[in-house]
Amino acid sequence: MVKVERAVSGPAAQPAGVAWLIAIGAWFVPGVGHLWLKRWGRALLMGGAVWASFLVGLAMGGHMFSLSTGQGSSPLLQIPPMIANMGSGLPYLFCLLFGIGFSDNPEQAARATYEYGNTFLLIAGLLNYLTVLDAFDIAVGRKP
């Protein structure tokens, strides 16, 4: 009888340092972690979903959070949504740097899609956290 050995499919685990770099890259630019791992389909689907959510949120006139947008309340209340927004990585930092989506003007808040936009922006960041964890799990070999 011939013994047949089947190789375990899936990529070899990356060294821990590289896996962390992949995770940071995945956070910084949504989709890059999976591109790095040559998971084209996942990069397109997951990164695309994050980018789409972020851009739709901005187009709807959504508002992002930072510590400076207290609106008279405690800046501590801004921390949870800020953490969610920060999950978007580079798009969030770009908007923070150029003041896009951070202003508190009444005209923007009066838009019918304002709250929808907020939600899309929050969800973009939260979905990207899931994407980062997925990329990290693949990189360390926990996931095929």
């Binding site: 996942r42 689907l45 997951m46 979903a49 789409a52 939600t119 969800i123 979905l127 899931l130 994407t131």
Partner: protein, 49 residues
């Protein structure tokens, strides 16, 4: 709401489960759950002043 449900379902489906068919099924399930819960909550809140 449909766009939101679709985007969330794509990521949830891609992250969870092991096989492609399981991922598709889970993604569709998540999409359906978001839609059904959204519509039910929408109608409930419609009657609450």
């Amino acid at each position: 709401m449909m766009l939101f449900a679709a985007l969330a379902a794509i990521v949830f489906g891609a992250v969870a489960k092991d096989t492609t068919s399981e991922r598709w099924l889970y993604g569709l399930k998540v999409f359906a759950e978001f839609m059904i819960i959204g519509l039910v909550l929408g109608w409930l809140l419609y009657f609450i002043p």
